[in-house]
C-alpha cells in the first residue's frame, strides 16, 4: 500500500481552499435564474418588436383604424376587412403576379443553381475562384441590384438590350424590359434569378459534397450509366438540400419588396405589383390600416401554412 498524506479527493481540497464569500455569491442564484437572466433581454425585445405588433395587427384588422387619422373614433368592424380583401379582384391579380414571380424564380434558380453546382463540383482548376465570382451577386444589397438593373435595362443606353440584340438581331430600342406590360413580369424574374441562383447553387454544392466518393466508385465498378448514377444516387442525396433551398427562396420571394420596388415600382400599371408592394401602398399611401392589416394577416397565414406543409414533406424526404 502506498502512503497518501491527504486522503481527500482533489475536488474536496479545491472546495476547502475556495474563499467562503465567493462560493456564496456564485451559488446565490439558481441555474434557472441565471438562464432567465441571460435570455430575458432577448425575449423582452422579441416581444416588443415582433410579437406585440403582430397581435396588435390582428386587432387592427378587425377595426376601421386609419393611422393618419389619429383622432377619429376606432370602430370594430368584424371580418369586413377580410371579406373585402378576399373579394377584391385587384388583390387576386396581385396574388397572381406574386405567384408568377415566385414560381418562375424558383424554377430558374433551381435549374441554373443545380446545374452550376454540378459544374463547379467537378473540381476543375481554379474552381474556388469561380465559386467566389459566381457568389458575388448574392452579396449585393437588393436596393443596389434593383437600381443597377434599371440602368442595365435602359432602352437607349442599357447594355442588356444591346446584348440581346447582338444574339437575336432585334433592334435594341424596339423593346423595353421594364416599361412593357408583357416583359416587366419577366424582367423581375430575370433579376431575381441573377441575384439568387448563386445561393441555390451553394446549397446544392453542400448537398453534392455530402455524397461520399466511394458510392460513385461502386457505381462505376457496377457499370452504371451516368444518367442512372445521377437519378439513383446524386439526385436523391441532394434532394433534401434542394427542397430546403426552394423553401428559403419561396418564403423570401413571397414577401419580395425592395428589389422590385426599386426596379419597376410595381409598374407598368400594376403588372409587377407584388403582394408586399400592394400592402405598403394600402398601409402607407392610402392609409387603410385596418384593411392592410387584414391583408397582412392573410399573407402571413398563407406563407405559414404552406411552409408547414412543405416542411412536413421535407422531413418525409429526409427520413426516407
Amino acid at each position: 500500500m502506498t502512503d497518501i498524506p491527504d486522503r481527500r479527493t482533489v475536488a474536496e481540497r479545491v472546495a476547502a481552499a475556495t474563499p467562503d464569500g465567493l462560493a456564496r455569491k456564485v451559488s446565490g442564484f439558481s441555474d434557472r435564474t441565471i438562464a432567465w437572466l441571460f435570455i430575458g433581454p432577448t425575449i423582452a425585445l422579441l416581444l416588443a418588436i415582433n410579437i406585440f405588433p403582430l397581435i396588435w395587427a390582428v386587432y387592427l384588422s378587425f377595426t376601421n383604424y386609419a393611422a393618419n387619422k389619429l383622432n377619429a373614433t376606432v370602430a370594430w368592424v368584424g371580418v369586413r376587412n377580410y371579406s373585402r380583401v378576399l373579394s377584391d379582384p385587384d388583390i387576386w391579380e396581385r396574388m397572381q403576379a406574386t405567384a408568377h414571380f415566385v414560381v418562375w424564380t424558383i424554377v430558374l434558380e433551381v435549374l441554373l443553381g443545380f446545374g452550376l453546382a454540378l459544374l463547379i463540383n467537378r473540381q476543375f482548376r481554379g474552381h474556388s475562384f469561380w465559386t467566389t465570382v459566381v457568389l458575388l451577386p448574392m452579396m449585393l444589397s437588393p436596393a443596389v441590384v434593383g437600381t443597377f438593373w434599371k440602368l442595365l435595362f435602359q432602352t437607349q443606353i442599357g447594355p442588356f438590350n444591346y446584348v440581346v440584340s447582338f444574339f437575336t438581331g432585334i433592334p435594341p430600342s424596339s423593346f423595353d424590359m421594364v416599361g412593357s406590360v408583357a416583359l416587366a413580369p419577366w424582367s423581375i424574374v430575370i433579376v431575381d434569378a441573377w441575384m439568387w441562383t448563386p445561393y441555390v447553387m451553394l446549397i446544392c454544392l453542400a448537398g453534392l459534397r455530402s455524397v461520399p466518393d466511394y458510392i460513385y466508385e461502386a457505381a462505376e465498378v457496377d457499370r452504371a450509366s451516368s444518367w442512372r448514377t445521377f437519378w439513383s444516387i446524386t439526385l436523391p442525396m441532394v434532394l433534401p438540400f434542394l427542397m430546403l433551398a426552394v423553401l428559403f427562396r419561396a418564403i423570401e420571394n413571397f414577401k419580395m419588396f425592395d428589389m422590385v420596388a426599386l426596379l419597376t415600382s410595381g409598374g407598368p400599371g400594376s403588372t409587377t405589383e407584388l403582394a408586399s408592394i400592394t400592402l405598403k401602398r394600402e398601409a402607407f399611401e392610402k392609409w387603410r390600416t385596418g384593411y392592410s392589416s387584414a391583408f397582412a394577416i392573410i399573407l402571413f397565414v398563407t406563407i405559414f401554412g404552406a411552409a408547414n406543409i412543405y416542411v412536413k414533406a421535407l422531413n418525409a424526404v429526409k427520413n426516407r
Partner: protein
C-alpha cells in the same frame, strides 16, 4: 474468369509510397489473400486492379488484356468495399439488382429477380430485401455489399475485408460459403483480410504485404512453415511466434549469424522441472476454453505457447524447455537455413 497479372506496379499519394514495385499473378480460379497490417497498401492494391487508382508506373492485365489505362467499367471486376458503400436511397433488392441493370449487360427482369433471390437467400438477407439499404445493421450491410458482387460473374472479385463486421458464427459460415462458391464455380478472387483464420482456410496462396511491398507469396502452409523474414513469421500463428535472442535458449544449436530464434508452440516442449532447477517460470495461464495460453518467463523474456486445458502446471512453477525445429533469423530479419 481470367488470370490477373500485376507487373511492377507503384502508387504514391504525395510523399506516401502506398504500393511499391508490386508484382503478383492471380491465376484463373485462384483465391489469393493479401495479408498485412493497417496502412500496408492492401486496399490501394485492390483499387489499382479495379481501376479506381491509376498506377504511377507498372502494368496490369486481366485475362491477357492490358487494362492499365482503362476505366473501372471496362475492366469487368466486382469490388466489395471496406466501407460497404451501398446505394443509400435504394432498397436491398435494388442494391443487389443494380449491377445487373447496367445498360451494357441487359439482363432480363425475371433473371434479375431469380439471381437476386438466390444470392440473398445464400447470404441470409432474403427477409430484408424490401428494406432501405441504410436501415440495416452493419453486418447486414456488409452482406448486401458481398451480394452485390456475387450477382455478377466478373473476371475477378476484389474483396476488401468483406467479413470484418460479422459475428464469429456468421463469419465462419460465410467463410465456408465463399470458399464453396469459389471452388464450385472456379472463380478468381483477390481478397484482403486481417483475420489469419480466413487467410489460412480460404487462400490458395497468401501474399504478405509490408509498407507497400509484397514480402512473400506462397501457400498458407509455406508462409506458416517457411517464412522468409521475421516479419512474415509474425503474420501467421496464434499465439504469435515467440522471438528471442539465442542467449535465452542456450540449449538450441543455432546456425552461424543467428540473431533471433523464432519458436512457435509446436517447436516447444515444456516439462515441469523438479527441485527448482528449470530455466523458465510460469507467469500466467489464460484459459481459452478447450486450450490454455501459457505465459512463461525465460531469462527475462516473455514466451507464450498453447497447451492442453488439463495441464498440471501452476503459476510460479519452474519448467524446462525443449526446442525442436525452431526458425532462425539473421540480424537483417532474413531467414537462415537450419
Amino acid at each position: 474468369m481470367a488470370e490477373v497479372r500485376i507487373d511492377l506496379v507503384s502508387k504514391a499519394f504525395g510523399t506516401i509510397q502506398a504500393v511499391e514495385d508490386l508484382s503478383l499473378t492471380v491465376a484463373d480460379g485462384e483465391f489469393v489473400v493479401l495479408l498485412g497490417p493497417t496502412g500496408a497498401g492492401k486496399t490501394t492494391t485492390l483499387r489499382l486492379v479495379a481501376g479506381l487508382e491509376k498506377p504511377d508506373h507498372g502494368r496490369i492485365s486481366i485475362g491477357g488484356r492490358d487494362v492499365t489505362g482503362l476505366p473501372p467499367a471496362e475492366r469487368d471486376v466486382a469490388f466489395v468495399f471496406q466501407q460497404y458503400s451501398l446505394y443509400p436511397h435504394l432498397s436491398v433488392y435494388e442494391n443487389l439488382a443494380f449491377p445487373l441493370r447496367s445498360p451494357t449487360r441487359r439482363v432480363p427482369e425475371d433473371q434479375i429477380k431469380a439471381t437476386v433471390t438466390r444470392i440473398a437467400t445464400m447470404l441470409r438477407i432474403a427477409h430484408k430485401l424490401e428494406n432501405r439499404a441504410t436501415r440495416l445493421s452493419g453486418g447486414e450491410m456488409q452482406r448486401v455489399a458481398i451480394g452485390r458482387a456475387l450477382v455478377r460473374r466478373p473476371s475477378i472479385y476484389l474483396m476488401d475485408e468483406p467479413l470484418s463486421s460479422l459475428d464469429a458464427k456468421l463469419r465462419g459460415e460465410l467463410r465456408l460459403e465463399l470458399k464453396r462458391i469459389q471452388v464450385e464455380l472456379g472463380v478468381t478472387i483477390l481478397y484482403v483480410t486481417h483475420d489469419q483464420i480466413e487467410a489460412m482456410t480460404m487462400a490458395s496462396r497468401v501474399g504478405v504485404m509490408e509498407e507497400g511491398r509484397l514480402v512473400q507469396v506462397g501457400t498458407p502452409r509455406e508462409i506458416y512453415e517457411n517464412p522468409a523474414t521475421v516479419y512474415v513469421a509474425t503474420r501467421l500463428g496464434q499465439p504469435a511466434i515467440n522471438l528471442v535472442p539465442p542467449s535465452v535458449l542456450p540449449q538450441v544449436a543455432t546456425p552461424p549469424g543467428t540473431a533471433t530464434i523464432g519458436a512457435r508452440t509446436e517447436h516447444l516442449d515444456i516439462r515441469r522441472a523438479d527441485g527448482g532447477t528449470g530455466t523458465g517460470i510460469v507467469a500466467r495461464i489464460e484459459h481459452l476454453g478447450d486450450q490454455n495460453h501459457l505465459h512463461l518467463d525465460v531469462a527475462g523474456h516473455h514466451l507464450v505457447t498453447l497447451t492442453e486445458s488439463d495441464i498440471a502446471l501452476d503459476v510460479g512453477d519452474r519448467v524446462n524447455l525443449d526446442v525442436r525445429g525452431a526458425l532462425f533469423f539473421g540480424a537483417d530479419g532474413r531467414r537462415i537455413a537450419a
